[in-house]
């Protein structure tokens, strides 16, 4: 049973996570102006169709807005935190060119991304037990090969303190 729609691969988590472009912290708003008809806007249309979901997935706090059929030529506009605006012309360009250009001017570089990932790994130690939000496991009973949770399966009598104290009482 195949997925519904044109290019449903765009709607998979794997595709979304494969997005390259992670914007720098100063980029707040991204605006794409393009036309629904015409060859010049073709690259911009493909960019919106294929790459915008990836960009929004990787940058959840950037506002992305699309405007259709406002101007004859397609372009992208970025609004930065200090009030600066960056205008990127997209007329006649291919969607891959546009995304590579945007990555070059406003995306975080590979080194920065790797450094951030290392920092995140260092910050979260997988050996810790705690709430699901911060650690992988909450209790030892979740680990395979360890004693299962007594809430689900009763412990054998040798491990129960109540039974042991009862036995001690009857013996003595």
């Amino acid at each position: 049973m195949p997925m519904k729609g044109r290019y449903p691969i765009r709607r998979t988590l794997e595709y979304l996570q494969k997005g390259d472009i992670v914007f720098k912290n100063t980029v707040k708003i991204m605006t794409v102006n393009y036309n629904t008809h015409g060859e010049l806007s073709d690259g911009a249309r493909k960019f919106v169709f294929f790459n915008i979901p990836q960009i929004q997935y990787k940058n959840p706090w950037v506002q992305v807005m699309m405007f259709k059929n406002l101007t004859p030529a397609p372009f992208l506009k970025f609004y930065l935190d200090d009030g600066d605006q960056v205008l990127v012309d997209a007329e006649g360009k291919d969607h891959k060119d546009i995304s590579q250009h945007v990555k070059k001017i406003l995306g975080k570089s590979e080194e920065v991304l790797r450094a951030e990932e290392l920092a995140r790994m260092v910050h979260s130690n997988p050996a810790n037990f705690g709430p699901k939000k911060y650690c992988l496991r909450e209790c030892m009973c979740e680990v395979e090969g360890q004693v299962p949770c007594p809430g689900l399966i009763p412990l054998p009598n040798e491990m129960r303190g109540k039974y042991k104290s009862q036995m001690k009482g009857t013996e003595v």
Binding site: R11, L13, K28, I29, G38, P53, Q63, M65, L70, P72
Partner: protein, 143 residues
């Protein structure tokens, strides 16, 4: 009583003006893309913000850039108007700087007004010449 610092999460916002009935305030609708968890597709989610517009220069339908105020101005007003990005009916193409409507360029009236002035002076000169020639023609007829 207490001063609220950085009242909102969003510092810069782009939205469309939907109402200007309040005095010196514009009601702006901002759309953000939100992922539907099951369909894994992005849809626009709307939110309305109120923006302080001291000069009342917004009309309904403008696309507007808002900046977060340092302190909340009123119970609802959290942003102020930074810039009108696209004025409704008068969109200016940022690449060329000319007025634009859809996929066509609008030719402004000032260009066409200049030419008639030039041609009028030429026409006046022609009239003088013709008047002079007609006088010369008339004199021999009088005599």
């Amino acid at each position: 009583m207490s001063v609220k610092s950085v009242s909102v999460h969003a510092k810069w916002i782009v939205g469309k003006v939907i109402g200007t009935k309040m005095q010196k305030t514009a009601k702006v609708r901002v759309t953000r893309l939100v992922l539907d968890q099951y369909l894994l597709k992005y849809y626009n989610k709307r939110k309305t913000y109120f923006a302080h517009d001291p000069l009342e220069q917004c009309t309904v339908g403008d696309v507007v850039l808002l900046k977060a105020l340092a302190e909340r101005r009123a119970k609802l007003v959290t942003h102020e108007l930074a810039e009108i990005v696209y004025k409704v009916g008068n969109v200016i193409d940022p690449l060329t700087g000319k007025q634009v409507a859809g996929s066509l360029f609008r030719e402004t009236l000032t260009d066409s007004m200049e030419n008639p002035a030039g041609s009028l002076t030429e026409k006046l000169q022609e009239l003088n010449i013709s008047a002079a020639t007609s006088e010369i023609l008339q004199k021999p007829s009088e005599v």
